[in-house]
């Protein structure tokens, strides 16, 4: 056996099979100037020189430690207690790969077990897997699960338009090959006020899954019970995408009928860090347990009657299902799941409730103050919201945000690109890290940069 993966004749044969002349032709999609660029690499430097150059480059960035952050839209700037990183940076944890001889790694299994238990109590669900990449891919996995649950016989998936637009994009990417599956419900023409009624009307016996967000993308909190009932009446499954922090004060989806809960775990002690690595939360009711990707860890006793942790279920993984496996997600974001476990354990039940309440109160104070500003209006002020809210601004959000940077303030999310009817609308998030002084300064600055 040679270590050459492909001989010239094999390459030839493969190219012929797909009707392509040269390997280079496969890269036609990439603009030519980016295909084989000349890299302008400067000449060598000493370690002292390179360090100072890199520090200079890095100092051009401002972090959320330097400026208050009102940007959310799915990832949130919460305080991360020092002990999270301190424990996480133990080499036993951060060098470990997914345990292929799982029972030998009792520490890792215990961490996964604790993580799964915490996610179940937070969401009110029966089982949680050991995580997905992020909230968006967890949402896509809910669609895959629902499709296979009905063995491909139900061909419709309904997405609320108030689900994070990025989640909806990732779902469509993941489901690209499922040609008979119709992913719909989030039509641009649907008004964001009547989104839920529109979804409800479209539920029929061909519906496999309805996906809702809680609180929704605009921070709004709705009672989904009757919508979920309507879906269950025709046998459809319902997935709810959550913000875990909000569950410190809201009724968990498991208590109002959700079959699947997905979510972005980043708020649970993970840094914003340019968008990753994050943590995809995924939990279901017991009846779907065999359809879950990844691993479930259980607690038992060994022959000496000592507590021991085992892989209880890996129903879709390759080591049990061989060539028929439909997932290789395994323990996935193990280190991130561990970080969230440390974070949740540290806060405890009361601390977590307190955290949610702080976010809620501060956001409501901010909304009240901003609503008073000349030219600004909080859009859904009669709908309950958690720690994020939509504001109509007197000028384009991109301009306001640029001006705010001069005052060292990171403004909110410009929703215009994803929701064309919402020109000049900013989505503002407030976490426990933001002080009252910072909110007041934010308001003053908003007024200043829009009325000069």
């Amino acid at each position: 056996m040679t270590f050459t993966p492909h001989t010239d004749s094999e390459v030839e044969e493969m190219l012929k099979a797909i009707d392509v002349k040269r390997i280079e032709d496969l890269f036609q999609e990439i603009p030519e100037s980016f295909r084989f660029p000349d890299l302008a690499i400067p000449s060598k430097l000493t370690e002292i020189e390179i360090l100072s150059e890199l520090q200079e480059i890095a100092s051009a960035n401002a972090t959320t430690g330097d400026m208050p952050c009102f940007l959310g839209a799915g990832a949130y700037d919460h305080y991360i207690p020092a002990v999270v990183d301190m424990l996480l940076r133990r080499s036993e944890f951060y060098t470990a790969y997914t345990p292929y001889q799982p029972e030998i790694s009792q520490g890792t299994l215990q961490a996964v077990f604790e993580y799964q238990s915490l996610i179940c109590s937070l969401t009110g669900m029966d089982v949680s897997n050991a995580s997905h990449y992020d909230g968006a891919t967890a949402a896509a996995e809910a669609v895959i699960l629902a499709y296979h649950f009905f063995r491909g016989k139900r061909k419709k998936v309904l997405l609320s338009r108030a689900v994070n637009p990025q989640y909806r994009q990732v779902i469509r990417t993941y489901m690209h090959g499922y040609e008979d599956l119709q992913i719909t419900g989030d039509n641009q023409a649907t008004s964001l006020e009547s989104d839920l009624e529109t979804i409800k009307r479209q539920i029929d016996p061909d519906t496999a899954l309805v996906l809702l967000q809680y609180p929704d993308f605009f921070g709004r909190i709705y009672d989904y019970a009757s919508l979920i009932d309507a879906a269950h009446k025709v046998g459809a499954l319902v997935a709810v995408a959550i913000n875990p922090t909000a569950l410190g004060m809201l009724t968990p989806p498991g208590e109002f009928g959700a079959d699947i809960v997905v979510g972005e775990g980043q708020p649970l002690g993970l840094p914003l860090s340019y968008g990753g690595p994050y943590l995809g939360l995924f939990a279901t009711k017991s009846r779907l347990v065999r359809k879950i990707a990844g691993r479930l860890v259980g607690k038992t006793r060994d022959i000496d009657e000592q507590p021991a942790y085992v892989l209880t279920l890996t129903a879709r993984e390759q080591h049990i299902r061989r060539d028929k496996s439909t997932s290789n997600i395994c323990t996935n974001q193990g280190l991130m799941a561990l970080a969230s476990t440390i974070y949740m354990s540290l806060l405890g039940k009361q601390g977590f409730k307190h955290l949610a309440n702080l976010c809620y109160q501060k956001a409501h104070y901010a909304a009240q103050q901003i609503d008073k500003l000349d030219g600004f209006e909080v859009v859904y002020k009669n709908t309950p919201f958690f720690h994020e809210f939509l504001v109509r601004c007197p000028k384009p959000v991109s301009m306001i945000n640029l001006a705010l940077q001069d005052y060292m303030i990171l403004g909110g999310f410009d929703v215009f690109e994803d929701y064309p009817e919402l020109e000049n609308h900013m989505l503002i998030a407030v976490t426990e890290k933001i002080t009252k002084n910072e909110i007041d300064a934010f308001c003053e600055t908003l007024e200043k940069v829009t009325h000069d």
């Binding site: 063995r151 065999r290 129903a315 049990i320 299902r321 061989r322 028929k324």
Partner: protein, 128 residues
């Protein structure tokens, strides 16, 4: 290991018992023994389905692995053993009786002829 005389067998370890117009299907004693403790049986075929020989009937999962079960005959599915969903261990304790999986109305008698009789299957198992 039991190889009942009245049954016919497929190479992929399914058994067939013809009873008038209907054929009952399941997996053999040899198969359940190889799988060891069965923890889950998912039958994906439903009553009324028209199936061809070789189509997937379902998946049987044991503590060791998961295996596909296929139809050894073409025909129309008449009945599914719902009890297996809650008590998959019957496949270990009584593979030829309570552990039956599906009843079908065969559409091609020649397929039945092509299956192994119990002697041939026993020999086939010993050689593996």
């Amino acid at each position: 290991m039991r190889f009942p005389k009245e049954l016919k067998f497929e190479k992929s370890d399914e058994w067939v018992k013809l009873d008038g117009e209907l054929a009952t299907l399941g997996i053999s004693d040899f198969a359940q023994n190889q799988l060891s403790d069965v923890v889950y049986m998912e039958i994906t075929a439903e009553s009324g389905d028209t199936v061809s020989k070789g189509d997937t009937l379902g998946t049987v999962e044991s503590v060791k692995s998961a295996a596909e079960v296929v139809f050894p005959l073409s025909g129309e599915v008449v009945e599914v053993n719902e009890a297996l969903a809650d008590q998959p261990e019957i496949l270990n304790s009584d593979p030829y009786g309570e552990g039956w999986m599906i009843k079908i109305k065969p559409s091609d008698p020649s397929e039945l002829e092509a299956l192994m009789d119990s002697n041939a299957y026993e020999k086939y198992c010993q050689e593996r």
